[in-house]
């Protein structure tokens, strides 16, 4: 009975902490994004509220919380109210399977540093992450507005197209690791950065990165909410906290996808030098710090991409998704399976995929160059 109580308490504490961090990542990432975008555009970014503008997103959150919640007359009430919840819930649910540190032992109890250490956590991630799209499509449809509907439909088409590439790119890692558990995948990459999957699966990494950008509706692929075309897309008719839900879900998904990418390809909480994790809480902090650094790297990469690349046209998006990335994902899966069957060394596999990546680069670059020349 005592052990059960303690176990429950630990789980509750972990849930509270993880949800707080996931929700808290939203204002943090928004602030960092606005700051970094500002710097890249040779301006200082928010710097008025609080020291160095640190409280800007807090104040924005308070403002949006107290705004009037306008519901237009022409919406479909049930789905309209349901959509923001359907968008934000998957993001929070996904956060429960992210392993952010090694197991630690406190008072004789082994505590894994994730809310739950599912055996199928990667599958769980894909299953729940793809539910987000229901909220987006329902939001677009229930708004009863042409542009919102277009935004929702674009989102549906885009997420369906890129979901396949995303999953297939991850299957390469699954073949290497032989497990669905994110915790086990992380531990298999321990012992130095040369064990990280990014060096075994460079092609899979690039595919996963691009597909994740598209899944999160980040800038080169942010067609569902293209401001200049759709005046905001599926969340045009939303205001106040309902709008904030969409916004928060977007940034939470960014944070969580960055986490999964760190786990799959950069060894999660494993440091880049050989290190055997002990079981003290200090070792847990050690792991969490490395995990944070890797997630931060991906978040910065996302912001950097946003500052650099322009938005694709819709046909270009579909061209890239179906004609370039999907075949490559299949090739990656097939090749990895063959390499594993023949027992290749990791560096041989990495080298082959790197060569394939460079060849793809050349071929795609050539196709684009020819297309551009044909237009002139």
């Amino acid at each position: 009975m005592h052990a059960f109580f303690l176990y429950t308490l630990i789980v509750i504490i972990k849930i509270v902490v993880v949800f707080a961090v996931t929700l808290g990542s939203v204002p943090a990432i928004v602030l960092v994004e606005r700051k970094v975008l500002g710097w890249m555009q040779v301006r200082p970014g928010p710097n008025r509220v609080g020291p160095w503008g640190l409280l800007q997103t807090m104040v924005d959150g308070a403002k949006i919380f107290f705004k009037e919640n306008v519901i237009p007359n022409h919406v479909d009430m049930l789905t309209y109210q349901l959509a923001p919840i359907l968008v934000i819930t998957p993001a929070l649910v996904i956060s429960s399977v992210i392993p952010f540190g090694p197991d630690i032992v406190i008072a004789g109890h082994r505590i894994p540093l994730s809310i739950t250490d599912l055996d199928l956590s990667l599958l769980f991630f894909f299953a729940v992450a793809s539910l987000t799209i229901y909220g987006v499509v329902l939001a677009g449809w229930s708004s009863n507005n042409k542009w919102s509907l277009l935004g929702g439909l674009r989102s549906a088409a885009q997420m369906v197209s890129y979901e396949i590439t995303l999953s297939l790119a991850a299957v390469g890692v699954l073949l290497l690791c032989g497990t669905f558990s994110l915790h086990a995948i992380t531990e298999q990459q321990g012992g130095g950065f040369w064990y990280w999957n990014v060096f075994r699966q460079p092609l899979g990494f690039v595919l996963f990165l691009l597909a994740a950008l598209a899944e999160n509706n980040r800038l080169p692929f942010d067609l569902p909410e293209a401001e200049s075309e759709l005046t905001g897309g599926y969340h045009t008719e939303y205001s106040s906290m309902r709008f904030a839900y969409f916004y928060m879900a977007e940034y939470m998904n960014l944070f969580l996808t960055a986490s999964v990418m760190a786990v799959l390809f950069l060894g999660g909480f494993e440091p880049p030098y050989p290190h055997q994790f002990g079981t003290s809480w200090l070792e847990g902090v050690h792991g969490i710090i490395w995990f944070g650094i890797k997630v931060g790297f991906f978040v910065f990469l996302y912001i950097w991409v946003r500052a650099t690349l322009p938005r694709l046209r819709y046909d270009q998006l579909m061209y890239l998704g179906w004609k370039i990335m999907l075949p490559l994902a299949f090739l990656n899966l097939l090749g990895t399976a063959v390499f594993i069957a023949y027992g290749w060394q990791w560096w041989q596999m990495g080298l082959v995929w790197l060569i394939v990546l460079i060849l793809t680069d050349l071929v795609v670059g050539h196709i684009l160059w020819r297309r551009r020349r044909a237009l002139h």
Partner: protein, 157 residues
């Protein structure tokens, strides 16, 4: 190669991240106005205190947004307001209509109306945006104002 082109773009944004910011932190810092800055209009005086404006109304006729209204009056021969025969009894500029093009300044044969350095022109009411001589005329204490093109006043015969 596609990736090299992409990396070039990424390098550009990364370089800009460490550039010096160009933003002026407005209420605390201010941009230094150049002599050619076109802010709110001023009506100049000669060093002896007389107004330059002789109410020829060229400014009002050249104004593309018809923001200038003026009424002329004869000078009192004992105590002339301007150096010419007439002076502007009423001189109003509607700042909400003004587009700060500076044509009035160019048209003025007496260099009486100039575009000054003031640019903080927000007001509480529309009526306050119609400014007249009490606001535009350079105060007597300032002599002929800050603009350095004073000629000796012509003698009124």
């Amino acid at each position: 190669m596609l990736s090299i082109d992409l990396l070039k773009g990424f390098a550009v944004t990364l370089k800009h991240m460490f550039r010096r910011r160009v933003t002026v932190q407005y209420p605390e810092q201010r941009r230094i106005e150049t002599a050619s800055f076109r802010g709110r209009h001023r009506l100049q005086r000669y060093a002896d205190g007389r107004e330059r404006c002789v109410a020829c109304a060229l400014c009002a006729s050249v104004c593309p947004s018809e923001a200038i209204y003026l009424e002329a009056a004869e000078n009192d021969s004992e105590h002339p307001t301007s150096h010419g025969e007439r002076y502007a009894a009423v001189y109003q500029i509607h700042l909400l209509r003004c587009i700060f093009c500076g044509f009035c300044e160019e048209a003025c044969p007496e260099d009486a109306i100039v575009m000054g350095p003031q640019y903080e022109l927000a007001q509480d009411a529309r009526a306050q945006c119609v400014i007249d001589k009490t606001i535009m005329l350079t105060p007597r204490e300032e002599g002929f104002g800050t603009y350095d093109f004073d000629f000796p006043p012509p003698q009124v015969g």
